[in-house]
Symmetry: C2
Subunit: 253 residues, 2 copies
Amino acid sequence: MEEEIERLPILRVGEQGRSEVEDTVVREFPLTIILNERELVTLLCSPTKLEFLTAGYLWSEGLIESKKEIREMKLDREKGVVRVEAGRMVDVPFKPLLASGGGRDIASLSARKVGAGPQIKISASRVFFLMEGFREYSRVFEATGGVHSAALYEADNLIIFSEDIGRHNAIDKVLGECLLRDIPTDGHIMITSGRVSSEILLRVARRNIPLLISRSAPTNLGVRLASDLGVTLIGFARGRRMNVYAHGWRVVD
Amino acid sequence: MEEEIERLPILRVGEQGRSEVEDTVVREFPLTIILNERELVTLLCSPTKLEFLTAGYLWSEGLIESKKEIREMKLDREKGVVRVEAGRMVDVPFKPLLASGGGRDIASLSARKVGAGPQIKISASRVFFLMEGFREYSRVFEATGGVHSAALYEADNLIIFSEDIGRHNAIDKVLGECLLRDIPTDGHIMITSGRVSSEILLRVARRNIPLLISRSAPTNLGVRLASDLGVTLIGFARGRRMNVYAHGWRVVD
């Protein structure tokens, strides 16, 4: 946790006047990815799980499909550079889709319909229970109010948890870890603190994850894609309330 | 406001059981910018002020410096495409810095120190007052929980207000409007709902805006840049409290 935050003196101003106190802010780390000797992108991220972030980012951008395609990955943490040699040569110009944040070309990625296989269901009380645990893990957020969290669950079991200042990065860290550690995601549950845009939905659907739960709001494209791709999309899961935006048949009593 | 949101049926689940209700989600609009016949990027944004967003994005990326450099801008709203002919030809490969969201190459932009000119000061109660007004304007956020807001004030007067699903976009819309409508920003105040990362700070400093107020947290790089560039950075301005992270001398009693 220490590497994700920085303590510094601030001036706190309120009704009772002002005082100099020590406060905590979240750390922002520039990580430059060099793919096959070519500078690809600089991500601003939290300085944890950087190899997983790199793998997840490359996968999310459609630049790699599997772990096999990564021949070498060398992280130089001092310089904030990660050099990757990956199987397919990238000779098309790199055109990221800059969202609200993160990158992804929607049209170029063939999104497969989820859920033909995994017919998992979940009860509302189980969702509330999972969100409670998810919140407990989100320590950095509590300390600084500045990061997003993402987690992969298999039924009730937390498999992977990641935090990052970027909501895309948090999810890419989870998916990159799955990729590099050969962790299956079929039929699992993804939980995120952040807004569910089309990019998030596509990432999740491509890993055949049928259940996506967020503390925040979805966008209209997020809902449409969830509906089209067979993903159960739950938003505003807070306390003992939630909204189900798509494929509510998986949410049982 | 209608164009920024979409109404759809959802399933609301709570302690009292479940009910089908109509809910509102924020709209996510893909806008592809074609600069000098070359596809530059696709932004996911809220479908308002698209010309301002385009100009603001090009300026933020360092691709244009002034309004004069834009020879032509044609928006095709149906197709989600904006074609721009701009003065300087872009023949360097486009390498965006993908943050947590949005794009910007920190190193390549010469950030100028702010504040040698504008010696404005602000009282704490004035900050609280401005934030109250800012909140009132943030209607879409209230309705959907899914957008960011940004606003430019000259002393107590609201000059420009923008909303977007992306926090960078919201600020780029404000700055693009300033650019296209020749609105000065020197000595003004920028307010944002979103986190203050290095990218946000650089945008604001480049427009010589000495005061940046956010409802959210800054990152450590945001604080460092504010400190280096002479910007007064206020975070967590909520209700009648706030934290001053840099150049507190501008905040008076």
